[in-house]
Symmetry: C2
């Protein structure tokens, strides 16, 4: 979902009472970012505390391409990456992921191999191939075995938009919380529900209830889930010992039009390195520790959750590698602001940098003229001359500078002949030089595709008669058009 | 200011703590509109409860033109219009306007001739002509006499942006409240400060304090003023007997770029009949009567304040004429929703209609290609094919239909061959037919200009040596390019 999808972030229908309440009792973080404008790399960064360019969740098949993990992807999260639940496991925490994993669907990449103790959900996104037996539907796992497939056992009616998936994921969360409370064991719950991703769905009781159509129904159901989780945490007496963070993995999918959500006043959306692609609707809640109704303008990143959670759990973040996430504790509990930059990557390229209120674009690109003409529009209704370019434009010697306070929509370039540009740009150039000097790109995981690695016969398929025959292995370089 | 300029309406800097607090203790009205996308007609409608096409605040010099009241305008609010303070005066209320009047600057049009008991402010907007002695600077009145002029006695430093005007207007408000409380006399305070209109200013203590630059400084000062007024109302023990409404007279002036404010997710801004031009950041506050933190999706209009205030004061709205404003009491106090349409006028033309979640454009126009090429852009960065047109496009037989819930940005037209269009459009056509059947356009007040009617020698100018010699009368038809 997008920054602008919550009432508290300005969505006009004001249909997220639970999230708005969470913000009123906690901290709003309007300057919080994902590490990537696309799902898989963003989640890999959240789990590893490291930029995709370091953890390998990118492609070198072409310049500045968004790549992710459809079923046919060969790669996944490398074993060499230390994931958040791995560290927490060593600290006595029990971790559960509910919903979408997205860090690779081959056996060696699955959550329980990487520190999670429990999983209920799917390795890939719930879109396609929709009951087409020529390719397997996405499996749903419970722990290490599959328990069914989307569209077959876990229904999503593409015509009516009905599915009770979110209800299932809500129940999973509430059960886990109850069990952990009974066991008095600390826990990490990664509630990574598929909603509000396309194809958008909602359960019957939410269908048709939103001013915003089906997408809004899904948002309302998600909001209701957050409300139930917060309520359960409170009922179980865990509220004063539990930090709850709400955020999203990328900007609203503006290319999906009315089904893509809102990025509020920001430019473009998912897949792009404009603000609409990476600024996330983030709320932190911890009664007793975070005062109610505060706002922090800390530049934050999903990668910070890695460092913050480990620190709060009494652990130590790895020191044998670069960790991009910072400990947000001073921002959350003491209203401090850490003067750190935000890097906007697309595939193998650093496209932009934010430092304080300034953002410099080193490269601009929406998508190719050809893709655009074929109907894929990442910036519907938005055209900023020289900024929303359909060619990859190299500005690395004279980056395009914007002030996101005066101009959150990245509309009014600060010309390079101004005093402001001359004052700001050298500082940003220094930040970028330092960043690049330390940069050791990881082995790219999203280059290779192979139909044989798809979810033909996941573990447990035989018990429920869901095994399919994989084709012969035939690896090839994936094509990433954007 | 625009819909998106308040924290509670999604402005990312979240710099309006007082207005956000007001919303948290009162009612947010995200579907509230001005009666016109421009200042003077909007205010005339607020004061009269009637659309500008009825009260005369429009021009017939050209089709669908925005006209307002610069100094050289000959017209003003007709004596035949019954204004809100006139009705309240008869009910024992004392009314004060602080700030901009904008309903004509000739003697017969001034506030104290039309029901107000007190006035501290100016007849026209504070822009131009900036100390150019060939034309008079705008006078500031206290009651019936001028006490100085903008840029001469009431300084606005166009270089630094410094002016203490808002502070003066805040003090005027607090004093009035104290006096009325002492007198125990009911009152109507119309706090119509010039900020945040261009040229944007703020007092020294607010300059440089906003993330948003000078515009944000002005918003912060305005917000602080609202906070002080609410605090004073409370201190004086008036809170339970006072309805406070915050709103704006038109959308953010997007043509002014970083100095124009934000219309959030909406299309275009001031001067246009897209949502950005007329949807206003509205909050209602009345402890004990309006429950805290509620949202009403009542389609509201500034004209409703006329009817609502008169009703609450125990009066009767005039029955000898059409009043467009409705009584909002059921929405404010009982969460009822009145199914009424919103008409979007530009000059003499009804450009669009909203009914429930639907909006139909009967005419589309931003501004002329020529004006656009000369740098006046009402929709910076926004281009919606067939919607943001630089020619006046007549869609009266097949209006362009949008669903503002699914698509608040008016990006995704509902095609006329869809079932939805066929179901909705006849209802809207009926509403429009009914509206037009009853429509008796008023005598247009904004057709005629004459340099001689400018503020050369307002009453009181002789006492402070501020009289200027008017030129001979030479009336001509004003030119309205947009």
């Amino acid at each position: 979902m997008g920054w602008g999808d919550l009432g508290v972030y300005g969505e006009p229908s004001k249909e997220t009472p639970n999230l708005d309440w969470m913000a009123s009792q906690g901290m709003l973080l309007p300057d919080f970012y994902s590490a990537n404008p696309l799902c898989s790399p963003s989640r890999a960064a959240l789990m590893s505390g490291r930029l995709p360019i370091r953890n390998g969740f990118y492609t070198t098949n072409d310049h500045a391409r968004n790549a992710y993990t459809p079923q046919k992807i060969v790669g996944g999260i490398p074993d060499s990456e230390i994931l958040l639940p791995e560290v927490l496991q060593n600290l006595g925490y029990r971790s559960k992921i509910i919903g979408k994993w997205h860090l690779g669907q081959q056996a060696q990449y699955l959550p329980l191999v990487h520190g999670f103790d429990e999983w209920f959900g799917a390795p890939n996104c719930h879109f396609g191939p929709y009951d087409d037996k020529s390719q397997p539907n996405i499996p749903v796992y419970n722990g290490t075995v599959m328990v069914g497939r989307y569209y077959e056992d876990f229904l999503i009616d593409k015509k009516t938009g009905e599915s009770n998936l979110t209800q299932i994921y809500i129940k999973e969360a509430l059960n886990f919380l109850e069990l952990q409370a009974n066991k008095q064991q600390p826990f990490f719950l990664y509630w990574a529900v598929d909603a509000t991703h396309e194809p958008v769905y909602a359960s019957k009781m939410f269908l048709g209830t939103s001013q915003r159509g089906l997408y809004g129904d899904a948002v309302r159901e998600l909001d209701s889930g957050v409300g139930q989780i917060l309520q359960k945490v409170k009922e179980l007496g865990l509220a004063n010992d539990t930090l709850v963070i709400f955020s999203s993995d990328n900007g609203g999918a503006t290319y999906a039009k009315e089904m893509g959500g809102s990025n509020g006043p920001f430019l473009c959306g998912k897949e792009t390195t404009y603000e609409g692609g990476m600024r996330e609707p983030t709320i932190a809640y911890w009664p007793g520790r975070i005062p109610p109704g505060v706002v922090s303008h800390q530049l934050g990143s999903l990668m910070d959750l890695f460092t913050t959670f480990i620190t709060l759990a009494g652990g130590k973040v790895p020191t044998d590698r670069v960790i991009d996430g910072i400990d947000l504790s001073p921002s959350l509990f003491k209203q401090a602001v850490n003067d750190r930059p935000i890097f906007y990557y697309r595939g193998d390229e650093m496209m932009a940098v934010r430092w304080q209120m300034y953002k410099a674009h080193f490269w601009t690109w929406t998508n190719s003229q050809k893709e655009f003409e074929h109907g894929t529009d990442f910036c519907p209704g938005q055209v900023i001359d020289g900024v929303t370019t359909h060619e990859q434009m190299n500005h690395t010697t004279d980056p395009l500078l914007f002030h996101l306070g005066r101009d959150p929509g990245e509309k009014y370039m600060i010309r390079s002949n101004t005093e402001e540009y001359r004052q700001v740009m050298p500082k940003i150039m220094k930040i970028v030089a330092d960043h690049k000097e330390n940069l050791q790109p990881g082995e790219p995981q999203l280059n290779l595709c192979d139909e044989s690695v798809m979810n033909w016969a996941p573990p447990g398929c035989d018990k429920i008669n869901k095994c399919l025959q994989p084709p012969k292995s035939n690896p090839y370089n994936c094509t990433w058009v954007h």
